[in-house]
Symmetry: C2
Amino acid sequence: MPAGFAAAREYLANSASLVEAELRRQIEVRPDTAGKLRKAMEHSLFAGGKRLRPALCLAAGELVGGRREDVLPGACALEMVHTYSLIHDDLPSMDNDELRRGKPTCHVAFGEATAILAGDALLTEAFGVLASSHAEADRVRRAIAILSSAAGAEGMVGGQQLDLDGEGAEASVERASAIHEKKTAALIRAAVLVGGVLAGASNVELEELGRYGQSLGLAFQVADDVLDHTSTAEEMGKSPGKDADQGKLTYVAAVGLKAARKHARALSHEAVAALAAFKGRATYRVLAELATLAVERKK
Amino acid sequence: MPAGFAAAREYLANSASLVEAELRRQIEVRPDTAGKLRKAMEHSLFAGGKRLRPALCLAAGELVGGRREDVLPGACALEMVHTYSLIHDDLPSMDNDELRRGKPTCHVAFGEATAILAGDALLTEAFGVLASSHAEADRVRRAIAILSSAAGAEGMVGGQQLDLDGEGAEASVERASAIHEKKTAALIRAAVLVGGVLAGASNVELEELGRYGQSLGLAFQVADDVLDHTSTAEEMGKSPGKDADQGKLTYVAAVGLKAARKHARALSHEAVAALAAFKGRATYRVLAELATLAVERKK
């Protein structure tokens, strides 16, 4: 992580411990889970991710003055959905990855069937965790609708299908952007919106948070494409250059490295600009720094 | 289907058309779904299932006097979760089935990656459909918690893991029952409970509905084990004897055919008995007949 960004670093660290403790509790309150399934879920859930989505969810909730305990189940649900998507994307019939965050992927460690089931279970339980929030029932209902829509056929799952369909196709900015928007930005935007909704944000606030999340999500994915082209395996914790090798439609393939870097920074600026109305609020600085950090990170 | 059971037959037919029309609408209101993903979802969703779970959901809602439009999203969600589970169970790394309801399974028709994604999308969208119910928000929240719990790590997904773990293990009544309870009964019970909750059932009514659903679900799965041992491929629409060939822990393997048949009927009687307090209500006869039909069916 580059120097500076003190507020974002501290918030990421604090929210990661909060969310990890709650995720462990959520596994423990399901004691009747088959042993191998539970181990596979834990293997991927506690593999040392950045916990960016839960941090965004919690920070968005605090930004609009919500109670942390109302928002925490949303933060956990987001991380569970993100983790399930990594498990399924890594499968042999998908991206066929053997390494994730420097550890064997779920199917390498537990076999393909159990990896599929661990992903299914995390996705299913995410909605149960969200439904357990003590926020007003109508806010919970809306948060579930937002998460389902962002993760489903028109969102993340649809993005993975486009990604698979597009392997070997000619790279264009439009095509790469469409994949990024569904595959990555939709869930990052949902993280921010779920936090806002559970905390009781107004519709105007939700619109601003949505624009922030959308720009940040796209910035994050363009930066990821750049890192895939420039990093070493040690820095990435996974095989670099793999997307390009598989003929995936990356932003770098479409416009080149220099223009991609520039575009990521522009998106990051857009994200910060979307927060203008929140200047001076509790987590404004955290969210603004996270938007910058998303494009300045090394992994 | 055996003769008689007029009320159940008519209800199944009517609710199937209602639910299929609503499922088609739910696919249509997600127009931005990648073409191949949408086709795969439709392939499995409209493959001519019995639509037992949605019928149970709707009938339970009517039994306690609820509005059909409040319950219909629950019925659709149940069928979507059931369909996703069939798609994933059929995968090469799981049961490796090539035929389902007389048609090629999803991965045979669309490839393994798209089949996994179609299952993921159906599971994800199921919660979105449920969240769209216009029932009171707290009822919706509770219905989502019930569905997640029944389908998740301690329910259906956990049952599939136990099923895989148990292949080749010694058959015992306890082990076969534990698998049945999670893998099949949990979701059938949830179908009844989701209908009840969305319709505003009291806690006492929910307890009775839960006992009905649990007994019916177990009866259904024991009857399935019996059919797997006795049917022809034409009757089943899938390969008969396959569970036994794969060394799966079936109830028939544990106690023999005759005792299994007897047990299925006893469970079916228990289901009907659990409905005693509802005698004379709108869909009492339908639910009682469905419990009998579950063990008298030929496929």
